[in-house]
């Protein structure tokens, strides 16, 4: 009796991620949700530029490689090409979604595009060797903030869920993390809801997954998971930042 297996929506390609990288966990959660909802045959995923640029090699559904930051615009095209049949998700890092792609992110949310966005926030640019991200914390040492992020010089990190929650457009915004079993279970619930919302036609659903980058944070995998608790979550609190349908239910 098989108790635990690889989800069908993930294929057998060996992943290139670093030991302790949370991309592995998040890919699995997305694939499990796709399997449970039975949507692999209708799903088109859009990969970013970043560590997960080759996500198109790991998911079994049709995949599109996007230019840096442009995934929500590409998703808009893919969804509107066949809104009834195409299930569309983007999978993006913090540089992709909150730096170069900020306009595409905000406007897809404002338009309430009926898509699902998985936003992996590890406060650093991993693929290019550890530079500062728009979500890097004050004082955080990176290759392009070698003396620590100086808010006098380059301002403050951006809280994406909070920012997008000000818009009328989005349906659902939740911030989760994956540094413990309990948190992983919660993250999966949020990701499943973000896909279910699309199937129900409810609109723009984004899950921000606070993640670790042991390699570029200069920490062991376990220490990196703890760094999430000690440093990331105080600045990026977990929780639901928008849930239009739930709010409607309450006012009934």
């Amino acid at each position: 009796m098989v108790v635990f297996d690889k989800p069908h929506a993930l294929n057998d390609m060996p992943m290139h991620y670093c030991p302790g990288c949370t991309h592995g966990i998040i890919h699995r959660l997305v694939a499990e949700v796709i399997d449970e909802l039975g949507i692999e045959g209708r799903t088109i995923g859009i990969a970013p530029v970043g560590c997960s640029v080759m996500a198109y090699n790991y998911f079994n559904c049709d995949m599109i490689e996007a230019a840096h930051g442009r995934a929500p615009a590409i998703a808009t095209g893919v969804k509107r090409a066949d809104p009834e049949n195409h299930v569309v998700f983007t999978y993006q890092g913090d540089g992709d979604l909150a730096s170069i792609g900020m306009a595409e992110t905000v406007h897809a949310a404002a338009r309430n595009e009926n898509i699902t966005i998985i936003f992996v926030n590890n406060a650093i640019y991993g693929m290019t060797g550890g530079q500062m991200a728009p979500t890097s914390l004050p004082g955080q040492i990176t290759q392009t903030s070698p003396y620590g992020r100086d808010t006098n010089h380059c301002g403050f990190p951006i809280r994406v869920c909070e920012m997008l929650s000000q818009l009328e457009g989005p349906e659902y915004l939740e911030r989760v993390t994956v540094n413990s079993v309990k948190n992983i279970r919660n993250a999966k619930k949020a990701i499943k809801k973000a896909f279910q919302n699309q199937l129900d036609g409810k609109g723009f659903s984004l899950v921000e997954v606070v993640s670790s980058c042991p390699t570029n944070w200069g920490l062991t995998p376990q220490a990196a998971l703890k760094w999430i608790d000690d440093n990331m979550l105080p600045y990026y609190p977990l929780g639901v930042y928008k849930d239009r349908s739930a709010a409607k239910e309450e006012t009934k």
Binding site: N57, R70, I74, G77, V78, H86, H107
Partner: protein
């Protein structure tokens, strides 16, 4: 005889695109081409199509990329500065071998420039659509009828060769109104088994991508693509020859410059000068055949352009510099007059003396 409709150039493009089966338009307002977006905004909802005003020209070209990946006909349009914004997207479309149709209604530049007509994006269209080795099919209409015809042709060629077809119009073409016949026999679009439409659990997944980190693999993609381009160069060049049989002074012009130059050629003939016009209709592939035919009998070539001289380089290449090639031009939104072109013809006929 088919009925003709009086239409503005920009609107003729939009209507022809719809007739060609395009049901998705993404764009951003910028003069002198916003009429295309406005026409699509009115028409698309009525026919079950999708018009979306994107947040920028960058977003628009990426929305095009998305629809194209799913195998459907799709377009965007802009003018010079907006086309510059699309460079990244055009390169990605090329690297992923995606069909796309795009319109540039050129205005004066560089920079914010002006909104009057120009042809100063010739280099951008034929040499530098974006980074990396790639070509776009570039079609240059010289009438409202051609604005429509080359739109239909553009969609067909884009699908046939899996690349971007660009209609490179100048502002005059976009704004002028002429009678146009829209009676087309549209062939069905080809099958696209590579498209990302959902596996339906019935096939391996498709990947639309331009990232190939192994240099041997990326090299092969480039060489294969250029085999296609070579075939296009040999088979898809289009041009018009006007009074070229015995031409000694050969004018070369496209778009509004060709319309003006025809007048000048007629006037020159009245003065006994054997002038003729080669009008490229495809700027890429640039038509070499009429130049090979003309060069031996010609004394000189004159490139008439609304730019500081861009097509002139292709004229020199096509004639292999066997004859003098001079430039007759205006810039910044100004249009050459027939008188100015006639002066240039007279000068060339006098062996360069004014």
């Amino acid at each position: 005889m088919a009925d003709k409709v009086l239409m503005k150039g920009n609107e003729a493009i939009a209507e022809a695109a719809i007739l060609a089966g395009c049901r998705h338009y993404f764009g951003y307002p910028i003069p002198p081409q916003t009429e295309i977006a406005a026409y699509m905004a009115k028409k698309m909802p009525k026919i079950g199509g999708c018009f979306l005003q994107a947040e920028s020209e960058i977003a628009a070209i990426n929305m095009v990329y998305g629809v194209s990946a799913t195998g459907k006909r799709v377009m965007t349009s802009s003018s010079s500065p907006g086309i510059a914004l699309k460079s990244e997207g055009l390169s990605y479309l090329a690297g992923a071998d995606l069909p796309a149709f795009i319109v540039n209604v050129q205005r004066g530049g560089p920079g914010l420039g002006g909104i009057q007509p120009s042809q100063s994006d010739y280099f951008q269209a034929t040499r530098a659509g974006g980074h990396g080795d790639f070509r776009m099919l570039v079609l240059a209409p010289a009438s409202v009828q051609e604005m429509a015809d080359l739109t239909v042709k553009g969609f067909e060629l884009a699908d046939k060769y899996r690349m971007t077809a660009m209609v490179l119009a100048d502002g005059t073409m976009g704004q002028m109104m002429e009678p146009v016949s829209l009676d087309y026999d549209i062939a069905p679009a080809p099958e696209k088994p590579w498209a990302t439409t959902g596996t339906k659990m019935a096939r391996e997944h498709n990947i639309v991508n331009s990232l190939f980190l192994a240099p041997e693999e990326l090299e092969k993609f480039n060489f294969d693509r250029y085999e296609r381009y070579k075939y296009i160069e040999e088979n898809e060049a289009m041009y018009e020859e006007y009074m070229m049989d015995d031409a000694e002074i050969v004018l070369v012009a496209f778009g509004i410059a060709a319309r003006v130059t025809k007048n000048a050629v007629n006037e020159a003939r009245k003065l006994g000068i054997k002038a003729g016009l080669i009008r490229p209709i495809t700027l890429w592939p640039f038509p070499k055949a009429p130049f090979e035919k003309a060069v031996d009998n010609a004394k000189a070539f004159i490139s008439v352009e609304l730019s500081m001289g861009q097509m002139i380089e292709d004229v020199r290449l096509a004639t292999e510099c066997k004859r003098p090639v001079t430039l007759c031009n205006r810039a910044g939104g100004m249009i050459p007059s027939p008188e100015q072109v006639l002066e240039a013809i007279k000068e060339a006929a006098n062996g360069g003396a004014k």
